[in-house]
């Protein structure tokens, strides 16, 4: 056992010292943070609507429509403005210029010149006779290709138009203002066997996140084991090492060392991502003008809740990672020991990778129906359960007895995989020359 420890220690230290490890460990949390923050930032930016406010409305309808549109645009972004507690004075809304139909061309010209100047208004909206008769409006400005801004302008005009029409139909002004300020707030709640709980979107997010994390880690660190084995073989250092330590011990040490590297990396990923998200999310969102509450407000603003991430799920993720890693890494090590070159190694690893990627192909149907037959079967098979079961647990609760059973089956699968891998590895490590056929490998397993 001492020697397993020595092998694992070397494996761990050499990998953790490598430049790749450092780069990946820092880069992935940045990417994770970015995938959370960029959409949130875009949404917050859109919600603040600062661009749509800073326009001129040329109103030639003589119905006061322009003022209504301006009011609506101001009200839309007032929620965002309210959040900027520091902001001293509320920003001015759109300027409304009431003009006659005849003055319109000249007014448009002057507005165009104004838009062309930097640090001025971004665009102008024209409301004229055709707006009332044919429901046509025109907009010109620097942000004319901004989908968000154009949507905002269009819906503001539609709202204003609606209230004008309602007024004509004799609806009371109070009712109109009530209708136009009506806003909907929908919350989505998941219901499961234990009753209501959690946020449905957050659960999907969590499930997919866990699945991707496990798949990535197993593939990445499993490939590392394969490359390590191949290196030992092709540099011929294997023979010196095997003269000191039994091949089974060497295999165990390598898998343990690389697994520890994977675990270290995951813990660092989660810790760094959590740090970045809690510390940078409020800054980024405030910069975008989104409402930001107290300390805990950031995750709420991002629309995620980590409420689904219980201690039990966390432990299960770790256990499934370890088992899944041992399963795949030992088989990949065996694949690496069979061959002599990188290309052959990828080919030898193919059947193993098919098992892994094959399991991933069913992820969609598991997300759609986490309690369906596919999901249930896949969470019991040792080669797919390390990915599917933790995902299912993130999506919907799974009875603890099933989890324990699936873990036991997976552990059994690991024992089998390690036994098989050790036999192939023992013979393969000293076998140079041509790539062995499947029949030959079967013979190794029988006679090793």
């Amino acid at each position: 056992m001492d020697k397993v420890w020595v092998v694992a220690k070397r494996e761990y230290l050499e990998r953790v010292r490598s430049r790749w490890f450092v780069v990946m460990t820092l880069l992935v949390p940045v990417l994770i943070t970015a995938t959370f923050l960029v959409p949130a930032w875009v949404a917050a930016k859109a919600a603040s609507g600062s661009a749509a406010r800073n326009i001129v409305i040329l109103d030639a309808t003589s119905t006061g429509l322009g003022q209504r549109v301006a009011d609506i645009l101001v009200r839309d972004s007032s929620a965002a403005a309210a959040s900027r507690r520091a902001a001293a004075a509320p920003e001015p809304g759109p300027q409304v210029r009431v003009v006659s139909q005849a003055q319109l061309p000249a007014a448009e010209d002057s507005a165009t010149r104004q838009v062309m100047k930097p640090n001025s208004i971004v665009g102008y909206l024209v409301l004229d006779d055709s707006t009332l008769s044919a429901r046509r409006i025109r907009y010109a400005g620097r942000n004319a290709s901004s989908i968000v801004d154009m949507d905002r302008v269009r819906s503001a005009v539609r709202q204003a138009f609606t209230s004008v029409m309602l007024q004509r139909e004799g609806v009371k002004p109070e009712t109109i203002s009530l209708i136009s300020s009506l806003s909907l707030n929908m919350s989505q709640t998941r219901i499961d066997e234990r009753g209501k709980g959690g946020n449905a979107q957050a659960a999907i997010f969590l499930g997919i996140g866990i699945g991707v994390l496990l798949l990535m880690s197993i593939v990445f660190h499993g490939q590392n084991v394969l490359r390590g084995v191949l290196e030992e073989k092709s540099t011929r250092v294997a023979e010196v090492v095997i003269s000191s330590v039994k091949p089974e011990m060497l295999l165990a040490g390598k898998v343990a060392g690389a697994g520890a590297v994977g675990l270290t990396q995951q813990v660092l990923w989660i810790a760094i991502s959590a740090y970045l998200l809690t510390n940078f999310a409020p800054i980024v969102l405030r910069a975008a003008g989104a409402p930001v509450g107290g300390g805990g407000g950031s995750s709420a603003a991002l629309g995620i809740s980590f409420g689904g991430l219980t201690i039990g799920l966390f432990v299960a993720v770790i256990l499934y990672f370890l088992l899944g890693f041992v399963f795949y890494a030992s088989l990949l090590a065996a694949a690496g020991s069979m061959v002599n070159s990188e290309q052959d190694a990828q080919q030898a690893a193919m059947p193993v990778m098919y098992l892994l990627i094959g399991s991933w192909l069913f992820v969609n149907s598991v997300i759609v129906n986490p309690t369906g037959t596919t999901a249930k079967v896949l969470s019991w098979l040792p080669f797919s359960s390390p990915i599917i079961m933790p995902m299912r647990m993130g999506l919907s609760p799974v009875p603890w007895l099933s989890v324990a059973g699936s873990l036991a089956v997976c552990a059994l699968g690991c024992v089998l995989a390690v036994w098989l891998a050790a036999r192939i590895y023992r013979v393969g490590m000293l076998m140079y020359g041509k790539k062995p056929s499947l029949a030959e490998v079967a013979k190794w397993v029988r006679y090793a």
Partner: protein, 329 residues
């Protein structure tokens, strides 16, 4: 000989592969404190024998004892140092870290290992005032330096038994000399050294005892002096003065003498000298007389035992080298 006096006691081991038998009922004993040569052509089964000795592969039959204990006993291999024929180290690792790792695998404590590594690096000139190669990656070392690091790895845990598989192949003369000196020193300190080679001159120079194997079977073994005298023959080493002494041999009188079958059974022209095998019952003094009469100007006339090389050629012959089996000796 008592069991405990034997460093290695191999008893009737056999290793079969699908198409051929690599080693067939091989038995040999290596006394403690001796330098032992395992000789044989390529593909004779030397490496297979050594791998079985180190428990890297299992014999199909027979038993192997190291220091009187079965070779599979755990911890026993910590007392053995091994230099494989195909050499290599972790390329991206620092020299010191590689050496510490390999020493720790042999059960050396890290602190001890560090001290010994420094001693060895200094001894082999890998740390000097200007440069400490111990902190370089293996990749950055020259081939000669890498070979030195590999020796150090073999000897770092101060093994009682050192097994070297074709240690001289690929060595430059300076490293070959360093290796020879190291082997002699190990012997002086009572260590046992066993090495395989197909270069008979190395074996003749260094080995106390040898075993010649061919086609997986033992051809002969014993003390080098016994092996060389066992043929009951004596040879004469003859060197003639002058540049073209040997070139004229076929035409002049010297050649005539050498072809006299009453005196000479066979002679081997080594360019610098002739190795002459006397005919049965021939008198070497008569040969000397005849040569002088024939006008030879003699630089060297020495009675010698047949060289291992000659014995090897004679006993193994060309047929001992099986085709298509190279590499896995």
């Amino acid at each position: 000989m008592q069991d405990k006096d034997l460093a290695i006691d191999i008893c009737g081991i056999t290793k079969r592969y699908e198409e051929h038998v690599a080693v067939r009922e091989l038995s040999l004993q290596v006394p403690r404190g001796s330098v032992y040569g395992l000789l044989g052509p390529n593909g004779a089964g030397k490496t297979t024998t050594i791998r079985m000795l180190l428990d890297i592969i299992k014999p199909d039959a027979g038993s192997i004892a190291i220091f009187g204990r079965p070779s599979t006993e755990s911890g026993l291999l910590n007392r053995v140092g091994y230099l494989p024929e195909e050499r290599g180290l972790y390329r991206k690792m620092q020299v010191r870290r590689v050496l510490r790792f390999l020493a720790e695998l042999k059960g050396v404590k890290p602190a001890d290992a560090d001290k010994r590594i420094d001693e060895w690096l200094q001894r082999f000139g890998l740390t000097t005032k200007d440069k400490d190669w111990g902190n370089s990656k293996i990749d950055e070392l020259s081939r000669g330096m890498q070979q030195k690091v590999q020796f150090i790895a073999t000897l770092l845990h101060d093994p009682e038994l050192v097994i070297l598989d074709e240690p001289f192949s690929g060595l430059d003369p300076i490293n070959a000399q360093a290796l020879k000196d190291t082997v002699v020193e190990l012997k002086r300190r009572g260590r046992t050294v066993i090495f395989s080679t197909h270069v008979m001159e190395n074996a003749e120079r260094m080995c106390d005892a040898v075993c010649i194997i061919a086609r997986g079977e033992k051809v002969l073994d014993g003390q080098v002096t016994d092996v060389r005298s066992s043929s009951g023959r004596r040879n004469v080493a003859l060197a003639l003065m002058g540049d073209n002494g040997s070139r004229d041999v076929r035409e002049n009188g010297v050649g005539h003498v050498l072809r006299d079958s009453r005196l000479v059974r066979h002679f081997d022209d080594n360019n610098r000298y002739f190795e002459i095998e006397l005919a049965p019952g021939a008198d070497e003094q008569e040969l000397l007389h005849k040569l002088i009469e024939a006008g030879a100007r003699i630089e060297r006339f020495e009675l010698v035992l047949p060289s291992l090389h000659q014995i090897f050629i004679e006993r193994v012959g060309a047929s001992g080298v099986e085709t298509g089996m190279s590499g896995h000796g």
